[in-house]
Symmetry: C2
Subunit: 426 residues, 2 copies
């Protein structure tokens, strides 16, 4: 398993954080050349293990190993091989390579499952290059129109998902749909990406659901003017206004026990001596409950309009010259409501975790929800689903230094295998 992880991390190697050869991050954006190489490895490796592979119209790649009977859909293991621009070696990669490891263990031990089992590599889970996360499992689930996904433009550049899928040879001819490629169940092993397991000194998280989130794009329009000749009160400064909004979103998140984050910001025209006339930025809002996200979204819309119009929402106008009004528009690019996983899968994972950990299990396993979205969110709309979390160092993820101990990768992979076998029997 560790060999596969590090072998595949030769494609898209990122920033170094330690001395050892494997102590680098990853930068393997979806549908890049490096992603193509990792995909080719996945197809070659799973076919060599006796699987048949299918590529759908979103580039999702399904490898299926036949069972004793093949009249019911396979039990799948799934995750993703794409990474953040400054990501690590475990987010997604652990899940897919653990699926490949499962295929190897089944083959090595001549295990025949009741029904087929499979491994799927979902496209652009991260939403880092093409800004909708889990977009390709979303298409498969029927939640996102194929056309929306195909026309999705990369964050920096003109390419679309369709053009990049076809460029790297992964625009498959099979429709991307749960009806063409049905699943009996979907299990996903993933690093937690947060600190809870480590803080609680646990080994396995049995994931019962995923928090809600929305991705917004906020566009502020003011007026391009000269920085040296325009006094503060004659400016419609789109960047000053956007800065107030970023700060205010953090206040709103604090007040609502939620999260608000801006990862992307662009100021136009982008010249030192021109007050920006237009700024756009991403806003990612999250909370355990759909209602909280909806309330926060409403507050963002109301308050950003007020900030743009010049109202003193941040109570800083006494010390900050009020300028001319700007306008603001907000688009909702993506919405992922709170998800609850299927009790059959949750108990398969829980039983598997207890079996693998043996007598120590009672204080090494915990139930939890996920702060991050995963392809399991969309899989769960079309088949019983659950996830297995393993701890990662200091909860750090989306960072080159993301790290999961070998022991924890192995435990997670064992729980994954056992969960699939248990569900297959069920």
């Amino acid at each position: 398993l560790m060999e596969d992880i590090h072998h595949t991390c030769q494609w898209g190697t990122g920033q170094r954080w330690g001395e050892k050869p494997t102590e680098t991050g990853m930068s393997r954006l979806a549908l890049s050349d490096a992603d193509k190489e990792a995909r080719d490895w996945f197809v070659k490796t799973t076919e060599a293990l006796g699987c048949q592979t299918t590529i759908d119209a979103m580039g999702n790649t399904f490898a299926v190993r036949p069972g004793l009977r093949n009249d019911k859909p396979p039990t799948f293991v799934g995750s993703h091989l794409d990474t953040q621009p400054t990501g690590g070696r475990y987010d997604g990669i652990l899940g897919v390579t653990a699926g490949v490891e499962m295929l190897k263990v089944l083959a090595d031990n001549w295990v025949e499952t009741e029904y087929p089992v499979g491994v799927v590599n979902w496209t652009n889970e991260e939403g880092a290059r093409f800004p909708i996360s889990m977009v390709a499992s979303g298409v498969w689930a029927g939640s996102i129109p194929l056309e929306t996904a195909h026309n999705l433009r990369e964050v920096r550049g003109p390419a679309t998902m369709a053009s990049e899928l076809s460029r790297i040879g992964y625009l498959g001819s099979t429709p991307s749909s749960h009806t063409s490629i049905p699943m009996g169940a979907h299990f996903e092993l993933h690093i937690e990406q947060g600190p809870l397991l480590e803080l609680a000194n646990k080994k396995i998280g049995v994931v019962t659901g995923v928090q809600a989130y929305k991705w917004l794009t906020v566009t502020v329009k003011g007026r391009d003017t000269h920085t040296g000749t325009t006094d503060l009160k004659s400016r419609a400064d789109a960047l000053l206004t956007a800065s107030k909004m970023v700060l205010h979103s953090h206040k709103l998140a604090t007040a609502n026990n939620a999260l608000a984050s801006t990862g992307i910001i662009n100021a136009f025209p982008g010249s030192t001596n021109t007050v920006p006339g237009e700024v756009s930025f991403s806003l990612d809002i999250r909370a355990p409950q759909d209602e909280t996200v909806a309330r926060l979204y409403q507050m963002v819309r109301n308050d950003f309009a007020k900030i743009a119009a010049g109202h003193d929402v941040l109570a800083c106008n006494a010390s900050c010259t009020p300028g001319l009004p700007c306008s603001v528009s907000i688009t909702e690019d993506f919405d992922s409501p709170a998800t609850t996983f299927h009790s059959d899968c949750v108990s398969a994972v829980s039983t598997a975790a207890h079996a693998v950990l043996g007598s120590g299990a009672h204080n090494q396993v915990m139930q939890m929800t996920s702060g991050a979205g995963h392809d399991s969110v969309y899989a769960s709309k079309r088949c019983p689903t659950s996830m297995i979390f393993v701890p990662c160092r200091e909860g750090v993820s989306h960072n080159p230094a993301e790290f999961c101990k070998e022991e924890d990768c192995a435990l997670g992979a064992q729980v994954l295998l056992q969960s699939v076998l248990r569900f297959d029997r069920l």
Copy 2:
């Protein structure tokens, strides 16, 4: 004059703001292909008017028309043909084309000046593409090392001034220096770029000096983390921190009766679901007095360090979850101290303005200082210098809709010609 302005605006035409063919802005970044075409026109046109042209190592292009005697350096008219990315048709362009118009008027009227006169097109005055404004007149004046300028990298991309000068064929063999290319005086006609002339209902500004400014680059470092799994207090959010700094710089500017502006901001890695671990932004600070700019700079350094460390400088921590500390570093990229123009040139302009405006002059001319930097700042270090301002609509500049009435362009060009002739006699 108007024909030359609009003819040359075919190279690098920008956004449309009105219906008429000439109602567009300009986007002619320094040393772009469009800039090369405008430069070629300048060389061809001035040579056809009997000038000898010299291109120096910064691409500054000097066209000189012989005088009766040539044992003293020419009286120059100078400005620039480069524009902002979303600039207008007058900023810089008016000054160069009015110089060409002067050459035409002298030729048409068989005027022989006492000493030579010339027109210079300075390179990258805007500092928009290569982020030091007036960099090439700065090299000529001996204030900026040639190497610094040649190695200056474009804001977006890998090209340097040297590579682009050589690419477009404007890396001249003459040293860029006031000793190789001396000037008897430097006069510059420019739109005001601010609202004062229009508000006061004046036609001509006699410019006595230029305010002080500094350009800084601020880099904030935090930690890349996942937006969905990292609670607010566990984040070292470089963009939230930068937003506080932008807002605070505006407060400091307000308190000091100065200007502070951010035109460029970049967040890394730039992914919707990664809290940015690094943000850099430009900060342009200005005030009439050097001391004010120095004081503001000191305050920026102190307070930004405190904001990065998590001190509640903006008094928002009660409502905003404090996160982990970030670090901040500030580089000073450019410094232009306050400038006072030479009294001989100021009075040449003033006398010329009164002569051109005749009996109405007493309430149509005013003395003023410039909020924007100009090549005249550096020229003034090596020869007597002054400037002529004409009003522009609503004071708007660095904007496609920048506009100067034909009548005002013409008046300015007449004052420019008269100023040069007066100085030549003097």
